[in-house]
């Protein structure tokens, strides 16, 4: 496909060729790099890309770069890199292969460039075919009123056997953890003692030991007894202050006795 003689390659370009190239220069911004430009130039050969003459293409490209330079158009570096490479390729294609030289042959390089051009062209065609397809939202449509899936949150509670046992242990051992406090069931309050004594005092015509006034249930348990005794004593003092009883004690630590105070009617 690159078996062209140097003479053919050096042929004076046709008027049409020149016009195309000039149009290209004006339009330089429209190209997406050297490969795009090469593809466009290649199309002017009006042959299948598989039969394209890479030598001819290289000549066209180099002409183009020359003209751009003459017109003082700034060419991006990659256009110049491509130009240099195509000049190298051209020389490789025209000169007989040097058996001493390593590396790919001119034919290999040309074939690959042809492949690249063909592939890029194919991708462009596919892009066009893709866009020509029926498209969602233009030719076919999704549901107009999508019904969203509603999220329903369901709460479940859970506990482990360990939670349960720890919970129970916590309750059962709560008392163990408490520092000593006066439990209320062991207390006979002053108010209770007053009420209790006021009820009984009417019957106390003779001297009676204060300990006889201990309420039921507060005589045996020493804790309870202590509490009731103290409260009863305080209540007795209160009643004496009110002038309702007389108190006496024969000696220190002797039992405290009390008696109803007779009301004088004068």
């Amino acid at each position: 496909m690159v078996a062209e003689s140097f003479d053919q390659g050096a042929k004076v370009e046709s008027v049409a060729d020149r016009l195309v190239t000039e149009a290209l220069i004006v339009d330089l911004d429209g190209f997406e790099g050297p490969l795009d430009l090469l593809l466009t130039l290649g199309r002017t050969q009006k042959v299948d890309l598989r039969q394209i003459s890479i030598l001819e293409l290289a000549r066209q490209y180099l002409d183009f770069v020359e003209k751009a330079k003459a017109l003082r158009i700034e060419l991006a570096a990659d256009y110049l890199v491509m130009a240099a490479w195509l000049a190298f390729l051209k020389s490789r294609l025209l000169l007989p292969p040097d058996p001493a030289e390593d590396g790919p042959s001119g034919e290999d390089l040309a074939a690959h460039l042809a492949f690249q051009l063909e592939r890029l062209q194919a991708m462009r065609e596919m892009a066009a075919r893709l866009l020509a397809r029926d498209q969602l939202g233009r030719d076919f449509f999704a549901r107009g009123v999508p019904e969203d899936v509603r999220q329903v949150r369901k709460l479940t509670y859970t506990a482990t056997l360990l939670d349960l046992m720890q919970g129970y242990a916590r309750i059962r051992t709560r008392d163990d953890f408490r520092p000593y406090v006066m439990d209320r069931d062991a207390i006979f309050t002053l108010e209770q003692a007053l009420e209790h004594m006021r009820r009984l005092i009417g019957f106390a015509g003779t001297w009676t030991d204060l300990s006889a006034y201990l309420p039921d249930g507060f005589t045996d348990d020493p804790v309870r007894r202590r509490s009731a005794t103290a409260s009863n004593f305080a209540a007795a003092l209160e009643l004496a202050k009110e002038g309702r009883v007389d108190l006496r004690q024969s000696e220190t630590f002797a039992p405290v006795e009390l008696r109803r105070k007779e009301h004088r009617d004068d």
Partner: protein
């Protein structure tokens, strides 16, 4: 595109066959965001179409299907069949730990069943909120037992088979005893106040906060 134009042009001369009109109507009802009136259908369909007639056919076709054509005032819309609404829900299950109040109540019921509410309160030292008991009943971990033969004949609570199932117990007797709890180190370890589990959200009783206060008071 050109095909469609041709079709549109043809339609100037002859209305499409009814089956075709039905297809058109189907597509319109499917893709349109709002319900469509017969008038709108006619305006969108090729000249000479009879949307009302096509609609009758289409509605028949969708009878008993998962999708229905419903009349909304003077307009029509496609909707999923109401009996399939459950497919449009997605249930997410969120697991939460039982509150401390609930766990303690549950533990007391498990260890002391059958047990009355008053007994639970006595053991816990605080009143038991109604929410806590209701929650446990709802979870089907406890149920009502026989009434106690004491004054007032109070109801009792017992644990259910679902409870045993959840905790992997064959019977309530399989619950470890206090000695075993102690052996397992569950009784000895006194959690520092900071690490004490928080009181249940359900229990908003005044007593509950009082206990909270007491624990703080008694903590080291």
């Amino acid at each position: 595109m050109t095909e469609e134009h041709e079709k549109a042009e043809q339609s100037l001369f002859a209305a499409p066959p009814l089956a075709e009109q039905e297809r058109m109507l189907e597509a319109i009802l499917f893709a349109t965001a709002e319900p469509v009136s017969i008038r709108d259908m006619a305006a969108r369909m090729p000249h000479g179409s009879d949307p009302a007639e096509a609609l009758v056919q289409l509605r028949k076709r969708y009878e008993g299907r998962g999708v229905q054509i419903r009349r909304v005032g003077d307009t029509y819309a496609m909707r999923t069949a109401p009996d399939l609404g459950f497919l449009m829900h997605r249930e997410t299950i969120e697991r939460r730990k039982l509150s401390r109040a609930a766990i303690e109540t549950l533990a007391i019921i498990a260890y002391h069943q059958p047990v009355t509410r008053a007994e639970i309160e006595e053991i816990r030292g605080v009143s038991v909120s109604r929410g806590t008991v209701d929650q446990l009943l709802e979870m089907e971990w406890i149920r009502f037992g026989r009434r106690k033969m004491t004054p007032g004949r109070p109801v009792t609570f017992v644990v259910t088979d679902a409870f045993l199932d959840h905790f992997g117990l064959e019977s309530p007797r399989d619950l470890p005893g206090l000695a075993e709890l102690r052996a397992a180190g569950l009784l000895e370890n006194r959690p520092p106040p900071g690490e004490m589990p928080q009181f249940g959200e359900g229990d908003t009783d005044a007593e509950e906060t009082a206990v909270d206060g007491q624990n703080e008071l008694f903590g080291d």
